[in-house]
């Protein structure tokens, strides 16, 4: 591979992409769009919060005589108010004629034995008959405990874990205090990594495929292949257009952090603790994963007859790349379970899994597992680049009817 030629292709692809009007609009316009979108999304959230601050009133008919409330008396539990009615007919009127309550509950006479509570909804009952159930349960628990147990015991029964302190025991047995949200803090790197990786792959992949399809349409392919090898062209494209995609994502991140909006606002107050092992391996994994997926996208995308076809063919890999996201809950629950071990050895899922596992519990992974997974990923990337460059050459020269897979394989094997 002649790196001077690769550099020429890289620079051309990078500069011609970042100067495109479409690129500039997307790069600079996306944060503005996101801000507008977030602004619009905030409106219903704000309205809902305002509604929450005003207590919602429910009716309660206490046939078990447990609550100790007089007729018409109202008791507030958190954001819910319960108005007591002496009989069900009055509660019904309040619900339907006066619309003074959202719904009403009947605590049945045999409640202590059966636990039966009947919920009644009306024309304006919001989220359904059991809206306010949690608050009613709390009210019932409080009244049931009443004076039967000591106030301290009652308080513990109502809130068994009232004060929380978190400590972390390191691999060396040392105990250190940490914030209760430190777990979320440890997820910052893997979440950021996965976000950056997938966004870069999707954006760069789109540019890669578009550029290749355009070259086919513009008929410059043979000129390129007579001046550079398929490996050189493909590597140059991966670097140049990957750079364009990464630059775009970095601009978005910078703008997002600049206005302390969304993700940044969530992250900055946290006790962010990042394992050095994860930090050290993340860039290597990022580059390798990008080369692995990008080359596969480019190799298969080159078989498309136009931009749309190429995108359909190439984006299959982008879909595969997002598969690890489906396993995130499992990985969080058990970062060293069977699923985590399996995903560590599959090239498509290895980058995200490794970063996640190393961030959550770096001491739980053996060196050989990290090294082995990395080796498999690097070897897979090498094989993917080799295969993709051959497919890329065959695909680029392809005109007319699409050949069979056998023919593609035959031509790919015989490619220079």
């Amino acid at each position: 591979m002649r790196w001077r030629t690769v550099r020429t292709v890289t620079w051309f692809e990078l500069t011609s992409t970042v100067r495109r009007l479409g690129y500039l609009i997307v790069t600079l316009g996306m944060p503005v769009f996101a801000l507008l979108y977030a602004g619009l999304a905030l409106i219903p959230a704000k309205l809902a919060k305002e509604q929450e601050s005003a207590p919602r009133i429910y009716g309660v008919v206490d046939q078990a005589a447990l609550l100790g409330l007089g007729d018409g008396e109202v008791i507030v539990v958190r954001s819910a108010g319960f108005r007591c009615f002496g009989d069900e007919a009055r509660a019904r009127r309040a619900l339907t004629d006066e619309r003074a309550i959202r719904s009403y509950f009947v605590v049945t006479p045999d409640y202590l034995a059966s636990g039966r509570v009947l919920a009644h909804t009306g024309p304006a009952s919001g989220l359904g008959p059991w809206e306010g159930r949690a608050e009613l349960s709390e009210l019932l628990r409080t009244r049931l405990l009443g004076t039967r147990v000591e106030p301290k015991v009652a308080a513990r029964l109502l809130e068994p874990i009232a004060g929380r302190e978190t400590f972390r025991v390191g691999g060396d047995g040392q105990v250190e205090a940490e914030g209760s949200d430190a777990f979320i803090g440890r997820l910052v790197l893997p979440i950021g990594f996965v976000f950056l990786l997938f966004t870069s792959i999707l954006m760069s992949g789109s540019y890669l495929i578009q550029a290749t399809a355009t070259e086919k349409e513009n008929k410059v392919v043979e000129v390129l292949l007579s001046s550079a090898t398929a490996d050189e062209i493909m590597t140059g494209k991966l670097l140049g257009l990957g750079g364009a995609g990464l630059l775009q994502v970095l601009i978005w991140l910078t703008m997002t952090l600049g206005v302390r909006f969304g993700f940044a606002q969530l992250v900055l107050p946290l006790d962010v603790q990042i394992a050095w092992q994860a930090v050290a391996i993340a860039p290597v994994l990022f580059i390798t994963a990008y080369a692995f997926l990008g080359s596969l996208m480019l190799g298969t995308g080159s078989f498309g007859g136009n931009v749309r076809e190429s995108q359909q063919l190439g984006m299959f890999w982008a879909f595969l790349a997002t598969l690890p996201l489906m396993f995130v809950p499992l990985l969080l629950t058990d970062p060293h379970g069977v699923v985590a071990h399996v995903l560590t050895w599959i090239p498509f899922s290895a980058p995200a899994t490794l970063v996640l596992r190393l961030s959550l519990d770096p001491d739980g992974m053996s060196v050989w597992e990290v090294a082995g997974s990395l080796a498999v990923l690097v070897l897979s990337t090498w094989a993917a680049v080799r295969l993709a460059s051959r497919l890329f050459r065959v695909g680029l020269l392809l005109t007319g009817a699409r050949p069979s897979l056998r023919e593609i394989w035959r031509q790919a094997k015989g490619a220079p």
Partner: protein
């Protein structure tokens, strides 16, 4: 003379289709070599093998005296038949990119691109987007971009397509200049008049096989009947060994000789008869005729 390119028994198949079958030819340094043939004859496959875009299944090829390698990239240049430019880019940027791919520095490529744009009369469109160019202008930019690196061996596949007569003459002159500078050109074209004007030697392919090969004059003689075109003053006398005479216009006669007649004997007879001979030439078969006779009728004269 040293051959700059040697094809020896080169074969290539695409699936069930044989694109080339044992094709051999040599291209000498400094000549314009015509690679001819009907559509689908294997010309483009030959060129793609030479440019290392596809690999031959059999046979050998040597370029500049050695097997083909990527280090030859900078010494070769190729103008494909199916060609184009990056439509959204500026003309100068595309030319500089192609120049850099051929090993030129950015500054050198830019300087040469400007010189070439001036040479082909397109300096004014240097900063225009390619999509704003007419087809003819685009063709000229492609040719200039190909020649930018001053390659030792230049392969031009249908360089005249889409050009008006003025620009056709311009490209013809450019090819003449390449030859004058001692560099080599492989010219693939269906314009047989250009082949006759420009080519020193030719190879004609048909159905993947080489069917005609050699210096162009020799090839044309090989496929020509024993015919003379004689321009004289006055009447044409009775000549020995002549089968028929046709008057093309007053004073100019087309004379078909008998099989064993020496053309020099006819000339001697005219001089002996005191006829002023203004022009006396062997009538050579036009390449277009040869092409049709060989390709369509399978005529084989070695």
């Amino acid at each position: 003379m040293t051959p700059i390119l040697v094809f020896e028994g080169v074969g290539k198949r695409y699936g069930d289709k044989t694109a080339l079958s044992g094709v051999s030819f040599e291209v000498q340094a400094g000549e314009v070599f015509g690679l001819l043939g009907p559509n689908g004859a294997g010309k483009t496959t030959c060129i793609r093998i030479l440019m290392d875009i596809v690999r031959a299944d059999s046979g050998t090829m040597r370029v500049f005296g050695a097997p083909l390698g990527r280090d030859h990239d900078f010494r070769l240049a190729y103008l494909p038949e199916e060609r184009g430019l990056y439509t959204k880019q500026r003309v100068i940027d595309v030319m500089v990119y192609f120049g850099k791919l051929k090993g030129l520095s950015a500054a050198e490529a830019r300087a040469r691109a400007r010189t070439w744009l001036e040479r082909i009369g397109l300096s004014s469109v240097e900063n225009h987007q390619v999509e704003r160019l007419s087809k003819g202008m685009s063709q000229k930019v492609q040719i200039a971009a190909t020649l930018l690196s001053e390659p030792e061996l230049c392969v031009l596949d249908e360089p005249f397509s889409g050009l008006d007569p003025v620009n056709t003459a311009l490209v013809r002159d450019l090819i003449g200049e390449i030859r004058a500078s001692g560099r080599t050109t492989i010219l693939s074209t269906h314009q047989m008049s250009m082949v006759e004007t420009l080519c020193d030697r030719v190879a004609l392919l048909s159905e993947g096989r080489r069917v005609v090969y050699g210096p162009i004059d020799e090839v044309r003689r090989r496929y020509s009947a024993a015919e003379l075109r004689i321009t004289i003053e006055g009447e044409l006398p009775e000549l020995p060994g002549v089968e028929s005479v046709t008057c093309e216009r007053p004073g100019t006669h087309r004379v078909v000789l008998a099989a064993d007649t020496d053309p020099q004997r006819v000339l001697a007879s005219l001089i002996d008869a005191g006829v002023p001979v203004l022009r006396y030439e062997r009538v050579l078969a036009p390449m277009e005729d040869i092409f049709i006779r060989v390709v369509q009728h399978g005529e084989d004269r070695g």
